[in-house]
Every structure is written in structure tokens, then in C-alpha cells.
Amino acid sequence: MIPEAIRWFRLVRMLVPGVSVLFVVVLTAIPVGIPYLPTVTPFFALIAVYFWGIYRPDLLPIWAVFALGALQDLLTGAPLGVTSLALVLVYALAVSQRRIVLGQSFGVEWAGFMLVAAGAGIVVWLVGSAFRAAFLWTDPFAVQTMLTAALYPVFSWTLAQVARLAPPAQPG
């Protein structure tokens, strides 16, 4: 009975990264009533996916990243697939570069995120423009990207606290 409970508890703890991304996806869709914010809501999911891609990719599989991106598109009314694409690319990049970033200072991690956010901003703008067959107004994308990059320290610190809830990583 007790080992069963521990097994379940462990399973729940393994869901922590996925649930944290789900939380920020829902957060993105909530109206806040602050002027200008809806159009430039920071790309919270990008922060979360980059963070988990570097620290615990074992607990956030790529299919979950894809599904959560699609959910954000469905909730916000963005072209379906554009957020999935950006998140999947960023996740793959984070996972492939994690060995380089892991031993370094936070500055390196943040700088890496700035590059990634800029790249994601461009991809999202290009795909969005192609989808709507018009060049979308670039200002909101630029502001969104800068806001997201600026918020990274606060969010990654919060996620680092959240990460303690997840089961410890296995060596290897």
C-alpha cells in the first residue's frame, strides 16, 4: 500500500515541469486589463521550455512541448502550430546545448536565452506573416521579445524553486 502511494507521489512529482508550462500557457490567455499588455504579453512558455530543456529535459518530453504550444495557439487564437513550432525548436536547441550552458554562470544562461528569444521572435513573426499573407506589424513582436528576455531572471529563479518539487535527476 505504502510503496504504491510513493509510486503515485513520484509520478505526480514527475509532472511538475509539464504542469508549470501548462500554468504559464493559461496565464498567457487571461485578460489583465493593462493597456498595451494583451498585444505584447511576454512569451512565458518560451522561458519555461528553455529552462526545463536545460535543467530537466528528462521530465518534459518534446511531445508535451508540442502539445502545450498547440494549446496556447488554441487559447489565444494565434495561427495553430506557430507556438508549437517555436517551442519545439527552442526546446531542441536548449537540449542540444545544455551541456555547454550547465557549468556556466547565470549570465551565460541568460545571454543564451536572449539569443534564443530573438530567434524565436523572428520565426514567429515570419510564420505569422506567411500564415496571414501579410507583413505583420513588427513592433509588438520586438517588444514581446524584449519583455520576455528581461523577465528571464525572475522567471527562471521561480522555476528553479519549482524544480525542487520534481524528483531529483538521475546521474548520467
Binding site: 493559461v26 489583465v32 504550444g69 494565434a78 495561427p79 495553430l80 508549437s84 500564415f131 505583420l136
Partner: protein, 299 residues
């Protein structure tokens, strides 16, 4: 779970890289496929979209409450500082509007009398439902909001959304208890309008920025700054005469309209359920389905 991860751990490094590349390609490809299907308006995908909206609407509604409480409090505190000047301004406005009310009553009576004399057809009846904004478009792609009212309330895609200030946009997706309103400022928004004073017709289009453009005017000189723009009722989606905005800029090739509605502060939106007179319901649908389909149905 554990034996599996151990097996991956034992995998040769190059093999792991290949596996990673494969999954990346797979899911990037899936994203692009979604985009293509969404662009083509693949019907099952649209059904998934409305189903997800219906599931998410209660969650968003609950989640929006604490956020709304905080922003309301902040707004109240900010409003407190200019209560006095606001009060003076409102008094003046009330006085002005009383005059207008008296005039409107007079005109309504006069209008009814003239209609009687002319035996004009009565305007179709109009009812409305009010929805609360429970979701913003959280991105720079679309200008749209999510409402907590849907097909059970009689809402269907195409109907107009208004506030007390004027036209907001039109419903594009309708779930059972939720719907999405495309705002006037969206890139895809096109509304047939008339210039209130001169009765020139035009199409009002958005471009994802905060201002609207008037297209298909007979000439840019057909409007002047300060002209009011109202819906024309052409196309049968919106009732005629809904206030939309005011012309604020006229250049050589375009006129810019500033909408009455402050899109950033939308809280409650009314959906107008408007029975536009049609010759025949089937006939109205035929052009959308294509001439071939209509021919087959007829034969």
C-alpha cells in the same frame, strides 16, 4: 519508465543525437502540418478549436477572477485621485446628454410618424446577449477576445459585437458556452461602413495596429477630419447605423479612423442577434458553397 531511460542512457552518443534530430523533425513537421491545415480551414481542426475553447472557458473564467480583482483595485485607487474633476466632467456630460435625449425623443416620434406615412418596412427585430471577456489574444498575431457566451445563448459566427461606445467586431468562432470576437483592428477585419454625414460608402479595415483605414472611398477628399463613421448594414451581417469611429487623419491615399471603443479595456461585450431579412435561407448560403454545389442541390 526507468529501464527505458537507462536504455537511452546506454545508447551510443551519436545514436542519441540522431534520435533527437528525428524527434525534432517529427514535431517541427507536425507543427507545420497544423499550420497548413489551419490555414486551409480544415473542418475537424475547427471543431477541435471550439471544443478546446469550451473546456478552457470555465478554467479561464475562474483564473481571471483574482487577476481582475487586482487590476480593479489598482484601477479604483487610480480613479480615486480624480474623482472631483471626473464628477464635474460627468455633470456637464449629463446636462449635454439630457438635451440630446429630448431631441432624440422628438425625432423618434417624428420618425415613427413619417414611417407610418410612408408605410416603410419595419426594421428587423434585434435582441442581444452580454458576454464577459474571459480571454485576450495573448499574442501579436490577432486582435481578438474570448467571451463566456456561446451557441447556447444564440450566438453564431458572423454576428456583431458592440459596447455602449460602438462596434467592437464580429464573432468568428462560437463554442457552446464560449465564443471568439475578432476586433475591428485585426488584419482580417473588413466592415462595410458609411460616412454619417455624406453617406459615402467605404470598407473599414484593420491592420493589427490601433487605427483603422477607410478603403474604397470614391476619393480621399470625400471625408474630412471629424466625420463620424457608422456601419452601413450592407452584406447583412451588421445592423445599419452602429457607431464605429471618427476620422482623425486624411492623407492623399487613405483616411484613418479612430474607433470609439477602447479595445484595451474591454470587459463586457454585447452580441447583437439580428435577424437580417433574407430572400431565402438556402439561397443566401449557396454563393458560399459554390455554384457547382448549388446546381447539384437544385437538380
Amino acid at each position: 519508465m526507468r529501464p527505458n531511460s537507462e536504455r537511452i542512457g546506454l545508447m551510443a552518443a551519436p545514436l542519441r543525437v540522431v534520435a533527437q534530430r528525428f524527434t525534432l523533425l517529427l514535431f517541427a513537421g507536425a507543427s507545420v502540418t497544423l499550420l497548413v491545415l489551419a490555414r486551409a480551414g480544415y473542418p475537424p481542426l475547427e471543431r477541435v478549436r471550439t471544443a478546446v475553447l469550451d473546456i478552457a472557458a470555465p478554467v479561464l473564467e475562474v483564473a481571471a477572477h483574482p487577476v481582475a480583482a487586482v487590476t480593479d483595485t489598482v484601477g479604483d485607487l487610480a480613479a480615486l485621485s480624480n474623482v472631483y474633476s471626473e464628477n464635474l466632467r460627468l455633470r456637464e456630460e449629463v446636462e449635454r446628454l439630457r438635451n440630446w435625449q429630448a431631441q432624440a425623443r422628438l425625432l423618434a416620434q417624428e420618425n415613427a410618424a413619417f414611417r407610418g406615412l410612408l408605410r416603410a418596412q419595419p426594421e428587423p427585430g434585434m435582441t442581444y446577449v452580454t458576454g464577459r471577456v474571459i480571454g485576450d489574444s495573448g499574442g501579436p498575431f490577432v486582435r481578438a477576445v474570448l467571451l463566456n457566451a456561446g451557441t447556447v445563448d444564440g450566438i453564431h459566427p458572423g454576428v456583431a459585437a458592440v459596447t455602449g461606445d460602438g462596434l467592437v467586431g464580429r464573432v468568428v468562432d462560437a463554442g457552446r458556452r464560449s465564443s471568439r470576437v475578432l476586433l475591428l483592428t485585426d488584419l482580417n477585419s473588413r466592415v462595410p461602413v458609411v460616412v454619417e454625414s455624406s453617406r459615402y460608402r467605404a470598407i473599414l479595415s484593420g491592420d493589427n495596429t490601433d487605427s483603422l483605414k477607410l478603403a474604397f472611398l470614391p476619393a480621399p477628399s470625400a471625408v474630412t477630419i471629424g466625420d463620424r463613421i457608422v456601419t452601413s448594414g450592407h452584406g447583412g451581417l451588421f445592423p445599419a447605423g452602429l457607431p464605429v469611429g471618427v476620422v482623425t487623419e486624411v492623407t492623399a491615399d487613405a483616411a484613418v479612423v479612430t474607433p470609439h471603443v477602447e479595445f484595451r479595456r474591454l470587459e463586457y461585450v454585447r452580441i447583437l442577434l439580428f435577424d437580417f431579412p433574407r430572400l431565402d435561407a438556402d439561397e443566401a448560403e449557396a454563393p458560399a458553397a459554390g455554384a457547382g454545389a448549388a446546381g447539384r442541390e437544385g437538380g
